[in-house]
Protein backbone atom coordinates (compact mmCIF):
# COMPACT_ATOMS: atom_id res chain seq x y z
CA UNK A 1 0.00 0.00 0.00
CA UNK A 2 2.87 2.36 0.67
CA UNK A 3 4.65 1.51 -2.54
CA UNK A 4 4.42 5.04 -3.82
CA UNK A 5 6.17 6.27 -0.72
CA UNK A 6 9.16 4.13 -1.55
CA UNK A 7 9.56 5.03 -5.17
CA UNK A 8 9.98 8.67 -4.31
CA UNK A 9 12.84 7.98 -1.93
CA UNK A 10 15.18 6.90 -4.72
CA UNK A 11 17.58 9.78 -5.21
CA UNK A 12 16.39 12.06 -7.96
CA UNK A 13 18.91 14.38 -9.51
CA UNK A 14 16.46 17.04 -10.64
CA UNK A 15 18.09 19.77 -8.62
CA UNK A 16 21.48 19.13 -7.18
CA UNK A 17 21.78 22.48 -5.44
CA UNK A 18 18.65 21.86 -3.48
CA UNK A 19 19.80 18.53 -2.16
CA UNK A 20 18.71 18.56 1.45
CA UNK A 21 20.94 17.77 4.33
CA UNK A 22 19.62 14.40 5.38
CA UNK A 23 18.23 15.01 8.84
CA UNK A 24 17.38 11.37 9.33
CA UNK A 25 19.10 9.17 6.80
CA UNK A 26 16.50 6.45 6.59
CA UNK A 27 16.92 3.40 4.41
CA UNK A 28 14.22 2.43 2.00
CA UNK A 29 13.15 -0.42 4.24
CA UNK A 30 12.74 1.93 7.15
CA UNK A 31 10.75 4.33 5.06
CA UNK A 32 8.09 1.77 4.37
CA UNK A 33 7.48 1.04 7.99
CA UNK A 34 8.61 4.15 9.80
CA UNK A 35 6.03 6.47 11.14
CA UNK A 36 6.70 10.07 11.89
CA UNK A 37 3.92 10.15 14.42
CA UNK A 38 2.28 7.34 16.29
CA UNK A 39 -0.85 8.67 17.94
CA UNK A 40 -2.49 6.49 20.56
CA UNK A 41 -5.89 7.07 22.12
CA UNK A 42 -5.71 10.82 21.77
CA UNK A 43 -8.49 12.91 23.29
CA UNK A 44 -8.56 16.67 23.47
CA UNK A 45 -10.85 18.98 25.38
CA UNK A 46 -11.50 22.70 25.18
CA UNK A 47 -12.71 23.31 28.69
CA UNK A 48 -15.63 20.91 29.01
CA UNK A 49 -16.02 20.35 25.30
CA UNK A 50 -14.34 17.32 23.82
CA UNK A 51 -13.03 18.08 20.33
CA UNK A 52 -11.07 14.90 19.65
CA UNK A 53 -12.35 11.54 20.79
CA UNK A 54 -9.95 8.74 21.32
CA UNK A 55 -8.07 8.81 18.05
CA UNK A 56 -5.28 6.42 17.13
CA UNK A 57 -3.44 6.96 13.89
CA UNK A 58 0.04 6.41 12.48
CA UNK A 59 1.33 9.11 10.20
CA UNK A 60 3.92 7.81 7.76
CA UNK A 61 7.24 9.53 7.24
CA UNK A 62 8.13 11.16 3.90
CA UNK A 63 4.59 11.04 2.66
CA UNK A 64 1.64 13.35 2.40
CA UNK A 65 -1.21 12.66 4.72
CA UNK A 66 -4.43 14.54 4.11
CA UNK A 67 -7.07 15.12 6.74
CA UNK A 68 -10.59 15.72 5.53
CA UNK A 69 -13.92 16.10 7.21
CA UNK A 70 -16.75 18.55 7.72
CA UNK A 71 -16.21 21.86 9.44
CA UNK A 72 -15.80 21.64 13.19
CA UNK A 73 -14.86 17.96 13.20
CA UNK A 74 -11.52 18.62 14.86
CA UNK A 75 -9.07 18.68 11.98
CA UNK A 76 -7.27 21.82 13.10
CA UNK A 77 -7.35 20.71 16.70
CA UNK A 78 -5.73 17.45 15.71
CA UNK A 79 -2.84 18.79 13.66
CA UNK A 80 -2.15 21.54 16.15
CA UNK A 81 -1.48 18.77 18.66
CA UNK A 82 1.28 17.42 16.48
CA UNK A 83 3.47 20.43 17.21
CA UNK A 84 1.89 21.35 20.51
CA UNK A 85 0.40 24.57 19.14
CA UNK A 86 -2.92 23.85 20.82
CA UNK A 87 -1.27 24.55 24.16
CA UNK A 88 -1.50 28.23 23.33
CA UNK A 89 -5.26 28.06 23.71
CA UNK A 90 -6.09 28.35 27.38
CA UNK A 91 -7.96 25.55 29.14
CA UNK A 92 -7.13 22.77 26.73
CA UNK A 93 -6.51 19.28 28.00
CA UNK A 94 -4.90 16.35 26.23
CA UNK A 95 -5.10 12.68 27.04
CA UNK A 96 -3.36 9.85 25.26
CA UNK A 97 0.03 9.62 23.67
CA UNK A 98 1.76 11.03 20.64
CA UNK A 99 5.10 9.50 19.74
CA UNK A 100 7.25 11.45 17.33
CA UNK A 101 9.89 9.11 15.94
CA UNK A 102 9.37 7.00 19.00
CA UNK A 103 9.77 9.83 21.49
CA UNK A 104 6.90 11.01 23.60
CA UNK A 105 5.98 14.47 22.31
CA UNK A 106 4.45 15.38 25.64
CA UNK A 107 7.14 13.86 27.86
CA UNK A 108 7.67 15.80 31.05
CA UNK A 109 10.98 17.39 30.09
CA UNK A 110 10.19 18.03 26.45
CA UNK A 111 10.24 21.63 25.32
CA UNK A 112 7.41 22.72 23.01
CA UNK A 113 9.73 25.20 21.28
CA UNK A 114 12.07 22.34 20.35
CA UNK A 115 9.15 20.30 19.07
CA UNK A 116 8.04 23.19 16.88
CA UNK A 117 11.48 23.55 15.38
CA UNK A 118 11.22 20.00 14.12
CA UNK A 119 7.55 20.18 13.22
CA UNK A 120 6.83 23.35 11.25
CA UNK A 121 3.47 24.79 10.43
CA UNK A 122 1.72 26.78 7.71
CA UNK A 123 -1.59 28.43 8.48
CA UNK A 124 -4.87 28.94 6.73
CA UNK A 125 -4.34 32.66 6.39
CA UNK A 126 -0.90 33.73 5.31
CA UNK A 127 0.80 35.57 8.14
CA UNK A 128 4.14 37.07 7.16
CA UNK A 129 5.56 39.45 9.72
CA UNK A 130 4.49 42.84 8.38
CA UNK A 131 7.43 44.82 9.71
CA UNK A 132 9.97 42.50 8.10
CA UNK A 133 11.20 42.31 4.54
CA UNK A 134 10.80 39.18 2.44
CA UNK A 135 14.33 38.19 3.30
CA UNK A 136 13.90 38.80 7.02
CA UNK A 137 10.69 36.82 7.02
CA UNK A 138 12.43 33.79 5.58
CA UNK A 139 15.42 34.05 7.88
CA UNK A 140 13.71 34.93 11.13
CA UNK A 141 13.58 31.33 12.33
CA UNK A 142 17.28 30.82 11.65
CA UNK A 143 18.16 34.03 13.44
CA UNK A 144 16.18 32.79 16.41
CA UNK A 145 18.35 29.70 16.35
CA UNK A 146 21.39 31.93 16.53
CA UNK A 147 22.64 31.56 12.95
CA UNK A 148 24.65 34.71 12.17
CA UNK A 149 26.94 33.62 9.36
CA UNK A 150 25.97 35.73 6.36
CA UNK A 151 26.95 33.09 3.84
CA UNK A 152 24.88 30.40 5.52
CA UNK A 153 21.95 32.79 5.73
CA UNK A 154 22.18 33.70 2.06
CA UNK A 155 22.36 30.09 1.00
CA UNK A 156 19.43 29.14 3.14
CA UNK A 157 17.45 32.12 1.90
CA UNK A 158 17.77 31.09 -1.70
CA UNK A 159 17.24 27.43 -0.99
CA UNK A 160 14.07 28.00 1.02
CA UNK A 161 12.61 30.41 -1.49
CA UNK A 162 13.40 28.03 -4.34
CA UNK A 163 11.79 25.15 -2.54
CA UNK A 164 8.75 27.29 -1.94
CA UNK A 165 8.72 28.05 -5.69
CA UNK A 166 8.98 31.74 -4.98
CA UNK A 167 12.60 32.56 -5.74
CA UNK A 168 12.17 33.61 -9.35
CA UNK A 169 9.34 35.94 -8.47
CA UNK A 170 11.01 37.77 -5.62
CA UNK A 171 14.75 37.44 -6.10
CA UNK A 172 15.04 41.09 -7.07
CA UNK A 173 12.76 42.34 -4.30
CA UNK A 174 14.17 40.60 -1.27
CA UNK A 175 14.29 43.83 0.70
CA UNK A 176 10.69 44.71 0.06
CA UNK A 177 8.16 44.25 2.85
CA UNK A 178 6.75 40.77 3.23
CA UNK A 179 3.27 42.20 2.82
CA UNK A 180 4.02 43.81 -0.53
CA UNK A 181 3.46 40.63 -2.55
CA UNK A 182 0.23 38.91 -3.58
CA UNK A 183 -1.78 36.65 -1.29
CA UNK A 184 -0.58 33.50 -2.99
CA UNK A 185 3.02 34.68 -2.88
CA UNK A 186 2.61 35.53 0.79
CA UNK A 187 1.45 32.01 1.49
CA UNK A 188 4.47 30.62 -0.34
CA UNK A 189 6.62 33.05 1.65
CA UNK A 190 5.18 31.53 4.80
CA UNK A 191 6.05 28.08 3.48
CA UNK A 192 9.59 29.28 2.78
CA UNK A 193 9.77 30.68 6.30
CA UNK A 194 8.70 27.34 7.72
CA UNK A 195 11.16 25.43 5.50
CA UNK A 196 14.11 27.66 6.33
CA UNK A 197 14.56 26.12 9.76
CA UNK A 198 14.64 22.69 8.07
CA UNK A 199 11.90 20.95 9.96
CA UNK A 200 11.26 17.26 9.49
CA UNK A 201 7.53 17.67 9.32
CA UNK A 202 5.37 20.35 7.76
CA UNK A 203 1.84 20.75 9.04
CA UNK A 204 -0.50 22.70 6.76
CA UNK A 205 -3.92 23.78 7.92
CA UNK A 206 -5.99 24.56 4.83
CA UNK A 207 -3.07 26.36 3.20
CA UNK A 208 -5.02 27.15 0.03
CA UNK A 209 -8.42 28.07 1.33
CA UNK A 210 -7.81 31.80 0.91
CA UNK A 211 -6.29 31.50 -2.55
CA UNK A 212 -7.51 31.55 -6.13
CA UNK A 213 -7.27 28.40 -8.33
CA UNK A 214 -3.98 29.39 -9.95
CA UNK A 215 -2.24 30.12 -6.68
CA UNK A 216 -3.75 26.93 -5.29
CA UNK A 217 -2.40 24.88 -8.17
CA UNK A 218 1.04 26.36 -7.56
CA UNK A 219 1.00 25.42 -3.93
CA UNK A 220 -0.28 21.94 -4.64
CA UNK A 221 2.54 21.42 -7.08
CA UNK A 222 4.95 22.69 -4.48
CA UNK A 223 3.57 20.32 -1.86
CA UNK A 224 4.08 17.39 -4.18
CA UNK A 225 7.66 18.44 -4.72
CA UNK A 226 8.32 18.71 -1.03
CA UNK A 227 7.07 15.19 -0.50
CA UNK A 228 10.49 13.64 -1.10
CA UNK A 229 12.09 15.47 1.75
CA UNK A 230 9.39 16.11 4.30
CA UNK A 231 6.60 14.44 6.12
CA UNK A 232 3.56 16.52 5.33
CA UNK A 233 0.20 16.61 7.02
CA UNK A 234 -2.35 18.74 5.24
CA UNK A 235 -5.85 19.65 6.35
CA UNK A 236 -8.19 20.45 3.53
CA UNK A 237 -11.83 21.07 2.88
CA UNK A 238 -11.33 20.33 -0.73
CA UNK A 239 -11.62 16.65 -1.54
CA UNK A 240 -10.20 17.04 -5.02
CA UNK A 241 -7.17 18.60 -3.42
CA UNK A 242 -6.80 15.70 -1.01
CA UNK A 243 -7.03 13.19 -3.82
CA UNK A 244 -4.63 15.18 -5.98
CA UNK A 245 -1.83 15.68 -3.51
CA UNK A 246 -1.93 13.09 -0.78
CA UNK A 247 -0.71 9.54 -0.37
CA UNK A 248 -2.96 8.74 2.51
CA UNK A 249 -6.16 10.29 3.71
CA UNK A 250 -7.85 10.37 7.06
CA UNK A 251 -11.52 11.16 7.38
CA UNK A 252 -12.62 12.80 10.62
CA UNK A 253 -16.17 13.17 11.76
CA UNK A 254 -17.23 14.96 14.95
CA UNK A 255 -13.99 14.34 16.72
CA UNK A 256 -13.59 10.74 15.65
CA UNK A 257 -11.37 9.13 13.07
CA UNK A 258 -13.77 7.28 10.83
CA UNK A 259 -11.39 5.96 8.22
CA UNK A 260 -7.73 6.15 7.36
CA UNK A 261 -6.11 4.61 4.36
CA UNK A 262 -4.49 4.91 1.02
CA UNK A 263 -5.90 7.97 -0.73
CA UNK A 264 -6.95 6.19 -3.91
CA UNK A 265 -8.60 3.45 -1.94
CA UNK A 266 -10.39 5.84 0.40
CA UNK A 267 -11.85 7.84 -2.43
CA UNK A 268 -12.65 4.94 -4.75
CA UNK A 269 -13.59 2.19 -2.38
CA UNK A 270 -14.33 3.69 1.02
CA UNK A 271 -14.78 1.07 3.70
CA UNK A 272 -17.09 3.08 5.90
CA UNK A 273 -20.56 4.25 5.09
CA UNK A 274 -19.95 7.72 6.57
CA UNK A 275 -16.85 8.21 4.46
CA UNK A 276 -18.76 7.32 1.35
CA UNK A 277 -21.57 9.70 2.25
CA UNK A 278 -19.09 12.50 2.80
CA UNK A 279 -17.00 12.06 -0.33
CA UNK A 280 -20.06 11.66 -2.51
CA UNK A 281 -21.39 14.86 -1.03
CA UNK A 282 -24.41 13.35 0.69
CA UNK A 283 -23.65 15.43 3.76
CA UNK A 284 -21.14 18.08 4.50
Amino acid sequence: MAVNTMSSSTPTSQSGAMNPTPTSPATAAELVTANAFAVKDLSIWYGEKQAIKNISIDIPVMAITAIIGPSGCGKSTFIRCLNRMHELVPRTRVEGKILFHGEDLYAAGSDPAMVRRRVGMVFQKSNPFPTMSIEENVLVGLRLNGVRNRQVLNERLEKSLRRAALWDEVKNDLKKPGMSISGGQQQRLCIARALAVEPEVLLMDEPCSALDPIATAKIEELIRELRDQYTIVIVTHNMQQASRVSDRTAFFYVGELIEFGDTAQLFNRPRERQTEDYITGRFG
Binding site: N83, M85, M114, M121, T131, M132, L144, P177, C190
Partner: protein, 322 residues
Protein backbone atom coordinates in the same frame (compact mmCIF):
# COMPACT_ATOMS: atom_id res chain seq x y z
CA UNK B 1 -45.33 63.86 -23.46
CA UNK B 2 -43.58 66.09 -21.09
CA UNK B 3 -45.45 64.92 -17.98
CA UNK B 4 -44.42 61.31 -18.42
CA UNK B 5 -40.91 62.31 -19.22
CA UNK B 6 -40.80 64.37 -16.06
CA UNK B 7 -41.89 61.42 -14.00
CA UNK B 8 -39.34 59.16 -15.55
CA UNK B 9 -36.81 61.77 -14.76
CA UNK B 10 -37.92 61.98 -11.17
CA UNK B 11 -37.59 58.23 -10.86
CA UNK B 12 -34.04 58.33 -12.04
CA UNK B 13 -33.26 60.96 -9.48
CA UNK B 14 -34.46 58.82 -6.57
CA UNK B 15 -31.14 57.27 -5.51
CA UNK B 16 -29.49 60.54 -4.36
CA UNK B 17 -30.74 60.51 -0.73
CA UNK B 18 -27.94 58.18 0.31
CA UNK B 19 -25.52 60.36 -1.56
CA UNK B 20 -26.80 63.38 0.26
CA UNK B 21 -26.38 61.59 3.60
CA UNK B 22 -22.89 60.69 2.55
CA UNK B 23 -22.03 64.27 1.71
CA UNK B 24 -23.66 65.57 4.87
CA UNK B 25 -21.68 63.10 6.90
CA UNK B 26 -18.49 64.16 5.18
CA UNK B 27 -19.18 67.85 5.83
CA UNK B 28 -20.21 67.24 9.40
CA UNK B 29 -17.06 65.33 10.26
CA UNK B 30 -14.96 67.91 8.46
CA UNK B 31 -16.65 70.66 10.48
CA UNK B 32 -15.94 68.80 13.71
CA UNK B 33 -12.31 68.33 12.79
CA UNK B 34 -12.01 72.01 11.87
CA UNK B 35 -13.68 73.00 15.14
CA UNK B 36 -10.96 71.20 17.07
CA UNK B 37 -8.22 72.87 15.06
CA UNK B 38 -9.96 76.20 15.51
CA UNK B 39 -10.15 75.68 19.24
CA UNK B 40 -6.42 75.03 19.42
CA UNK B 41 -5.67 78.13 17.38
CA UNK B 42 -8.07 80.17 19.51
CA UNK B 43 -6.39 79.08 22.73
CA UNK B 44 -2.98 79.99 21.34
CA UNK B 45 -4.28 83.32 20.14
CA UNK B 46 -5.88 84.14 23.50
CA UNK B 47 -2.67 83.32 25.31
CA UNK B 48 -0.67 85.46 22.90
CA UNK B 49 -3.09 88.34 23.26
CA UNK B 50 -3.05 88.08 27.05
CA UNK B 51 0.71 88.36 27.04
CA UNK B 52 1.31 90.81 24.20
CA UNK B 53 2.85 93.53 26.40
CA UNK B 54 5.25 91.06 28.02
CA UNK B 55 6.18 89.66 24.63
CA UNK B 56 6.90 93.18 23.40
CA UNK B 57 8.89 94.13 26.45
CA UNK B 58 11.10 91.06 26.86
CA UNK B 59 11.07 89.60 23.38
CA UNK B 60 13.28 86.59 22.95
CA UNK B 61 14.96 87.26 26.31
CA UNK B 62 11.90 85.87 28.03
CA UNK B 63 12.86 82.41 26.79
CA UNK B 64 16.58 82.76 27.36
CA UNK B 65 17.02 84.42 30.76
CA UNK B 66 16.74 82.99 34.25
CA UNK B 67 15.74 85.88 36.48
CA UNK B 68 12.21 85.67 37.82
CA UNK B 69 11.79 88.76 39.97
CA UNK B 70 8.21 90.08 40.17
CA UNK B 71 9.31 93.00 42.37
CA UNK B 72 11.85 94.29 39.87
CA UNK B 73 9.50 93.21 37.07
CA UNK B 74 12.20 91.05 35.51
CA UNK B 75 10.82 87.90 33.97
CA UNK B 76 12.76 85.07 32.36
CA UNK B 77 11.18 81.67 31.78
CA UNK B 78 14.24 79.52 31.23
CA UNK B 79 14.28 77.74 34.62
CA UNK B 80 10.62 76.81 34.20
CA UNK B 81 11.15 75.53 30.70
CA UNK B 82 14.11 73.55 31.98
CA UNK B 83 12.06 72.22 34.89
CA UNK B 84 9.16 71.15 32.72
CA UNK B 85 11.34 69.46 30.13
CA UNK B 86 13.64 67.71 32.61
CA UNK B 87 10.90 66.52 34.97
CA UNK B 88 8.92 65.19 32.02
CA UNK B 89 11.95 63.38 30.64
CA UNK B 90 12.64 61.81 34.02
CA UNK B 91 9.00 60.77 34.15
CA UNK B 92 9.17 59.18 30.71
CA UNK B 93 12.42 57.45 31.55
CA UNK B 94 10.80 55.81 34.53
CA UNK B 95 7.25 55.33 33.29
CA UNK B 96 7.80 54.08 29.74
CA UNK B 97 9.75 50.90 30.53
CA UNK B 98 7.51 50.16 33.50
CA UNK B 99 4.29 50.73 31.60
CA UNK B 100 5.29 48.77 28.55
CA UNK B 101 6.64 45.93 30.63
CA UNK B 102 3.39 45.90 32.60
CA UNK B 103 1.36 45.92 29.40
CA UNK B 104 3.41 43.03 28.04
CA UNK B 105 2.92 41.12 31.25
CA UNK B 106 -0.81 41.77 31.17
CA UNK B 107 -1.33 40.69 27.58
CA UNK B 108 1.33 38.06 26.99
CA UNK B 109 2.46 36.47 30.20
CA UNK B 110 0.12 36.83 33.15
CA UNK B 111 -2.17 33.93 34.02
CA UNK B 112 -5.67 34.69 32.77
CA UNK B 113 -7.34 35.06 36.14
CA UNK B 114 -4.94 37.78 37.23
CA UNK B 115 -5.23 39.96 34.12
CA UNK B 116 -8.54 41.67 34.77
CA UNK B 117 -7.99 42.51 38.47
CA UNK B 118 -4.53 43.84 37.74
CA UNK B 119 -5.80 45.97 34.87
CA UNK B 120 -8.55 47.43 37.06
CA UNK B 121 -6.02 48.18 39.75
CA UNK B 122 -3.82 50.10 37.36
CA UNK B 123 -6.76 52.00 35.99
CA UNK B 124 -7.71 52.92 39.53
CA UNK B 125 -4.34 54.58 39.91
CA UNK B 126 -5.45 56.99 37.21
CA UNK B 127 -8.48 57.89 39.27
CA UNK B 128 -6.49 59.17 42.24
CA UNK B 129 -6.88 62.97 42.36
CA UNK B 130 -3.67 64.85 41.74
CA UNK B 131 -3.77 66.63 45.10
CA UNK B 132 -4.09 63.37 47.00
CA UNK B 133 -1.13 61.97 45.15
CA UNK B 134 0.74 65.18 46.01
CA UNK B 135 -0.04 64.75 49.68
CA UNK B 136 1.13 61.17 49.53
CA UNK B 137 4.23 62.51 47.81
CA UNK B 138 4.95 64.94 50.62
CA UNK B 139 4.25 62.66 53.55
CA UNK B 140 5.27 59.24 52.28
CA UNK B 141 7.34 59.39 49.12
CA UNK B 142 9.64 62.29 49.96
CA UNK B 143 10.72 61.01 53.39
CA UNK B 144 11.32 57.59 51.88
CA UNK B 145 13.33 58.97 48.96
CA UNK B 146 15.35 61.14 51.33
CA UNK B 147 16.22 58.25 53.61
CA UNK B 148 16.94 55.42 51.21
CA UNK B 149 17.18 55.78 47.42
CA UNK B 150 18.69 59.27 47.32
CA UNK B 151 21.69 58.57 49.58
CA UNK B 152 22.21 55.36 47.66
CA UNK B 153 22.24 57.20 44.34
CA UNK B 154 24.54 59.83 45.77
CA UNK B 155 27.00 57.24 46.97
CA UNK B 156 27.15 55.15 43.81
CA UNK B 157 26.24 57.54 41.00
CA UNK B 158 27.37 60.80 42.54
CA UNK B 159 30.31 60.90 40.12
CA UNK B 160 27.91 61.54 37.24
CA UNK B 161 27.07 64.99 38.64
CA UNK B 162 23.36 64.24 38.48
CA UNK B 163 23.12 63.06 42.07
CA UNK B 164 25.17 65.49 44.12
CA UNK B 165 24.64 68.27 46.63
CA UNK B 166 22.39 68.43 49.65
CA UNK B 167 19.39 66.15 49.80
CA UNK B 168 16.25 68.04 50.79
CA UNK B 169 13.82 65.51 49.47
CA UNK B 170 11.80 67.99 47.45
CA UNK B 171 13.63 68.03 44.16
CA UNK B 172 13.50 67.75 40.42
CA UNK B 173 13.87 63.99 40.77
CA UNK B 174 10.94 63.75 43.17
CA UNK B 175 8.88 65.81 40.70
CA UNK B 176 9.82 63.48 37.87
CA UNK B 177 8.94 60.44 39.92
CA UNK B 178 5.52 61.75 40.86
CA UNK B 179 4.78 62.58 37.22
CA UNK B 180 5.91 59.08 36.30
CA UNK B 181 3.35 57.67 38.72
CA UNK B 182 0.69 59.87 37.19
CA UNK B 183 1.33 58.93 33.56
CA UNK B 184 1.94 55.25 34.23
CA UNK B 185 -1.72 54.20 34.07
CA UNK B 186 -2.46 55.96 30.82
CA UNK B 187 0.61 54.64 29.02
CA UNK B 188 -0.05 51.16 30.42
CA UNK B 189 -3.67 50.96 29.41
CA UNK B 190 -3.12 52.40 25.95
CA UNK B 191 -0.16 50.04 25.41
CA UNK B 192 -2.23 47.15 26.64
CA UNK B 193 -4.98 47.88 24.15
CA UNK B 194 -2.40 48.12 21.39
CA UNK B 195 -0.76 44.83 22.29
CA UNK B 196 -4.14 43.17 22.51
CA UNK B 197 -4.90 44.31 18.99
CA UNK B 198 -1.95 42.35 17.59
CA UNK B 199 -3.54 39.44 15.69
CA UNK B 200 -3.07 36.06 17.30
CA UNK B 201 -2.02 34.71 13.95
CA UNK B 202 1.14 36.79 14.27
CA UNK B 203 1.99 35.18 17.58
CA UNK B 204 1.26 31.73 16.21
CA UNK B 205 3.54 32.36 13.24
CA UNK B 206 6.40 32.96 15.65
CA UNK B 207 5.51 30.08 17.96
CA UNK B 208 5.40 27.74 14.99
CA UNK B 209 9.03 28.60 14.25
CA UNK B 210 10.00 27.40 17.70
CA UNK B 211 10.18 30.81 19.33
CA UNK B 212 10.08 31.12 23.09
CA UNK B 213 7.58 33.40 24.74
CA UNK B 214 10.03 36.27 24.90
CA UNK B 215 11.03 35.77 21.27
CA UNK B 216 7.39 35.74 20.24
CA UNK B 217 6.86 38.98 22.09
CA UNK B 218 9.85 40.53 20.42
CA UNK B 219 9.46 39.44 16.80
CA UNK B 220 5.69 39.11 16.49
CA UNK B 221 4.16 41.41 19.08
CA UNK B 222 6.46 44.36 19.75
CA UNK B 223 7.59 44.89 16.20
CA UNK B 224 3.99 44.76 15.04
CA UNK B 225 2.89 47.18 17.73
CA UNK B 226 5.83 49.54 17.89
CA UNK B 227 4.12 52.44 16.17
CA UNK B 228 1.14 52.23 18.44
CA UNK B 229 3.35 51.98 21.49
CA UNK B 230 5.23 55.05 20.39
CA UNK B 231 1.92 56.84 20.15
CA UNK B 232 1.14 55.78 23.70
CA UNK B 233 4.43 57.29 24.85
CA UNK B 234 3.67 60.58 23.11
CA UNK B 235 0.30 60.64 24.79
CA UNK B 236 2.04 60.14 28.11
CA UNK B 237 4.50 62.92 27.33
CA UNK B 238 1.64 65.30 26.64
CA UNK B 239 0.23 64.53 30.05
CA UNK B 240 3.61 64.84 31.72
CA UNK B 241 4.30 68.29 30.33
CA UNK B 242 1.04 69.70 31.65
CA UNK B 243 0.96 67.89 35.00
CA UNK B 244 0.51 70.54 37.70
CA UNK B 245 -0.78 69.89 41.17
CA UNK B 246 1.17 66.89 42.40
CA UNK B 247 4.42 68.17 40.91
CA UNK B 248 4.00 71.55 42.51
CA UNK B 249 3.78 69.83 45.86
CA UNK B 250 7.06 67.92 45.60
CA UNK B 251 9.37 69.70 43.18
CA UNK B 252 10.44 72.48 45.53
CA UNK B 253 9.29 75.45 43.43
CA UNK B 254 12.64 77.16 43.08
CA UNK B 255 13.33 78.75 39.71
CA UNK B 256 16.87 77.58 39.10
CA UNK B 257 18.82 75.48 36.66
CA UNK B 258 20.88 72.90 38.48
CA UNK B 259 22.68 69.87 37.13
CA UNK B 260 21.93 67.85 40.21
CA UNK B 261 18.51 66.25 40.19
CA UNK B 262 18.49 66.51 43.99
CA UNK B 263 18.14 70.29 43.69
CA UNK B 264 14.64 71.77 43.72
CA UNK B 265 13.16 73.00 40.47
CA UNK B 266 10.04 74.61 39.11
CA UNK B 267 7.81 73.88 36.14
CA UNK B 268 5.83 76.10 33.80
CA UNK B 269 2.54 74.65 34.98
CA UNK B 270 3.51 74.97 38.64
CA UNK B 271 4.47 78.63 38.46
CA UNK B 272 1.18 79.54 36.84
CA UNK B 273 -0.79 77.66 39.48
CA UNK B 274 1.24 79.11 42.34
CA UNK B 275 1.51 82.74 41.33
CA UNK B 276 -1.60 83.50 39.37
CA UNK B 277 -3.52 84.77 42.39
CA UNK B 278 -0.60 86.90 43.52
CA UNK B 279 0.03 88.54 40.19
CA UNK B 280 -0.63 92.10 41.24
CA UNK B 281 0.81 94.08 38.35
CA UNK B 282 -0.28 93.88 34.75
CA UNK B 283 3.16 92.92 33.54
CA UNK B 284 3.40 90.12 36.12
CA UNK B 285 0.08 88.74 34.92
CA UNK B 286 1.17 89.06 31.31
CA UNK B 287 4.40 87.22 32.09
CA UNK B 288 2.37 84.36 33.55
CA UNK B 289 0.21 84.35 30.44
CA UNK B 290 3.34 84.12 28.37
CA UNK B 291 4.47 81.17 30.50
CA UNK B 292 1.19 79.57 29.53
CA UNK B 293 1.90 80.32 25.89
CA UNK B 294 5.32 78.71 26.18
CA UNK B 295 3.85 75.59 27.79
CA UNK B 296 1.25 75.46 25.04
CA UNK B 297 4.00 75.76 22.45
CA UNK B 298 6.15 73.06 24.03
CA UNK B 299 3.22 70.64 24.16
CA UNK B 300 2.41 71.23 20.51
CA UNK B 301 6.07 70.97 19.56
CA UNK B 302 6.41 67.68 21.42
CA UNK B 303 3.44 66.32 19.54
CA UNK B 304 4.78 67.51 16.21
CA UNK B 305 8.15 65.92 16.84
CA UNK B 306 6.32 62.78 17.87
CA UNK B 307 4.39 62.76 14.61
CA UNK B 308 7.57 63.21 12.64
CA UNK B 309 9.33 60.38 14.45
CA UNK B 310 6.29 58.23 13.91
CA UNK B 311 6.55 58.89 10.22
CA UNK B 312 10.15 57.72 10.06
CA UNK B 313 9.12 54.66 12.05
CA UNK B 314 6.49 53.95 9.45
CA UNK B 315 8.76 54.14 6.45
CA UNK B 316 11.46 52.07 8.07
CA UNK B 317 9.05 49.38 9.16
CA UNK B 318 7.45 49.45 5.74
CA UNK B 319 4.03 48.11 6.58
CA UNK B 320 2.91 49.59 3.31
CA UNK B 321 3.81 48.05 0.03
CA UNK B 322 6.20 49.78 -2.31
Amino acid sequence: MPAVEGRAHAKLEVPPPSRFADKAFEWLTLAMALAVVLLVILVGWQLARGSSAAIQKFGFHFLATSTWDPVAEQFGALPFIYGTVVSSLIALLIAVPLSIATAIYLTELAPLWIRQPLTSLIEMLAAIPSVILGLWGIFVMIPFLRDYPFPFLKKYLGWSGLFTGPIYGVSMLAGGIIIAIMILPIITSVSREILRSVPNLQREAAYALGATRWEVTRIAVLSYAKRGLFGAVILGLGRALGETMAVTMVIGNTPQIATSLFAPGYTLASVIANEFTEATTDLYLEALFEIGLVLFGITILANLIGQLLLRTLKTSSGTRGA
